[in-house]
Amino acid sequence: MAFGGGYFKTTYASDLALIDTRLRRVGLGLLIVSLLMLPRFASSFALDLVTQTALAAIGALALNLLTGLAGQVSLGHAGFIAAGAFTTAVLVEQRMPSPLLALPAAALVGAALGVIVGIPALRLKGLYLALGTLALHHVVLYACGEFQNHWGANTGVSIPPPRLGSWVLKGTIAWYYTLTAIAGLVLILSVNLQRSRAGRAWMAIRDREIAAESVGIDVARYKVLAFVWSSALTSVAGALFAYQRAFVSVEAFGFFLAIEYIAMVIIGGLGSALGAVLGAAFVTLLPYGIDAAVAALHVPGGAEYYLFPLKFGAFGLLMAAFLVLEPQGLVGIWRRARNWVVLWPLRYRPLRPAS
């Protein structure tokens, strides 16, 4: 932190508090109020964008636990999402469409898959692990494809809107509140996981595995635990995805989806929960931003013809730019901006903290 001032935490309670200053409390309150009030002012299109961002943020936060904190690279994130979505589809086919059943079931399936990937991960490092998860992604998709071909209609499975008792979750506003609230819960969960014993163990493993082992961290156990947490949360995101889209089809979970999620955590900033949310918003909103820009420029000729490659290319270019130029992501930019404001008119923080 750049703050050179004399702000010290003097009690354990203040050290444990998630929101520690008045400014942050006020800011958070304003954020919550504005999120609550948003449906009154925003169009349903804007609400849908926020909803999509929230859904993406759940997946990105889960991937951040694994890749950002524990340092285990996964190219198979889309496979876990597919697993969650198809768990829901299977339950719907079995005439058990209740979300009270589907969400825990998706979490269980995800956790089981996490153990399956996590155990080979004990032997494999870096690239080899990424490849293993990539292969697993294809295997999961194969299983889902078989299910879709044999039991679903060939194109996919439609999912009825989730129903709790007599209340049916339907419509843009209801989905907006539900998914934003769930994303908020997952955000709190992931921040707390990061501060807990498990989170500290993950970061130690990420930074240097041998050193982590020598200070008594059970590396094998915590690695598998990271996979289990991440894949369980991701599968829940997949189940929510299935309910929200009301349709599940294998085509939606290609390799590109996994790349999109990796792009979210990298563009946002690896290892930071705030970064995962920012990255999710960035990657989700980018194609709509390009749409709006093209519409505003009034480019003549068949725009739809080059719009797709344009979005695709812009995505690739931005991801490459962040990887090469700003490895700390959006969070890095935010931190630099904040330090600049706090330290102004000085450029560097004092060498010795003012005591």
Binding site: V73, P120, R123, L124, K125, G126, L127, Y128, A130, L131, G132, L134, A135, L136, H138, V139, L141, Y142, G145, E146, N149, F255, I259, I262, I266, Y305, Y306, F308, P309, L310, F312, G313, F315, G316, L317, M319, A320, L323, V324, P327
Partner: protein, 291 residues
Amino acid sequence: MTQVLATTVVVASLYALLAAGYVLVYRATRVLNLAQGDMMTLGGYFLFLVAATVPGRPVLSVVTAAVLSAAAGFAIYRLLMRPMAGHPIFAAVLVTVTLGILLRAAIVLVYTDRIRHPLPLLGLANPPRRLPGGAVVSTFDLLTVAAAAALFLGLFAFLRLSPLGIQMRAAGEKALLAAQRGINFQLLFALSWALAGFAGALAGILYANNVRLDPSLGILGLKAFAVALVGGLDSLGGVIPGALIVAAIEVLSVRYGDPLLADVSPFLCLLAMLLVRPWGLFGTREELERV
């Protein structure tokens, strides 16, 4: 039975061409080039470009497309991969992923995603041939096998016999030591990328003539990646048995299982190999510790 055998060898040849690209790049720079499949597509479209400009000149078109692809490989190293030196390996791998996305976007931008057939533009035909055992393959199938054999013979000769090839092996083994002996390892790394581009282009050119050309051919590259890993990521010789094994399993699962299973079978091979022998059949064991 002979048909299965013949198909296996043909599929294995295509995979071997692609996997050679992975191994060449990996040996030099320890980076997995996940854009190899898209470099193959690029080679196919270079062929289409040349064939559409000067129709009816097959040799000229193929040579120009291959040279252009090699140049593209060289340029990719200089512009995109060299700045990644010193960054974590995984960041470099992700850059190759984005490279694949960019290549595909560029191809769709220029050529749309319609399926193309360069064969008539070249003025060639692709008649089926009956082999001695009764198996039937297309002419370009035979050419694929010939190209793979020629590429591998050429690569082995180059790496064993020519001074440049020996320098390339040295630079791949230990860039620092090689640099101290006065070897320009940056040039050799770029050359490895160029060779990978060339091998990918061969695969792309043959596949475009034999089957079709569309921007999503790159998917094949992921399958060929399983081949490289089964053989051992740093072993060029391992590519051939690796390709034969993966192709045989894929062909057999088409015949006795279903097409979906065949699509996923290379990845099952990959997973099995990772669990049993992560460094591959002929790879170096300590490779695993270095990544």
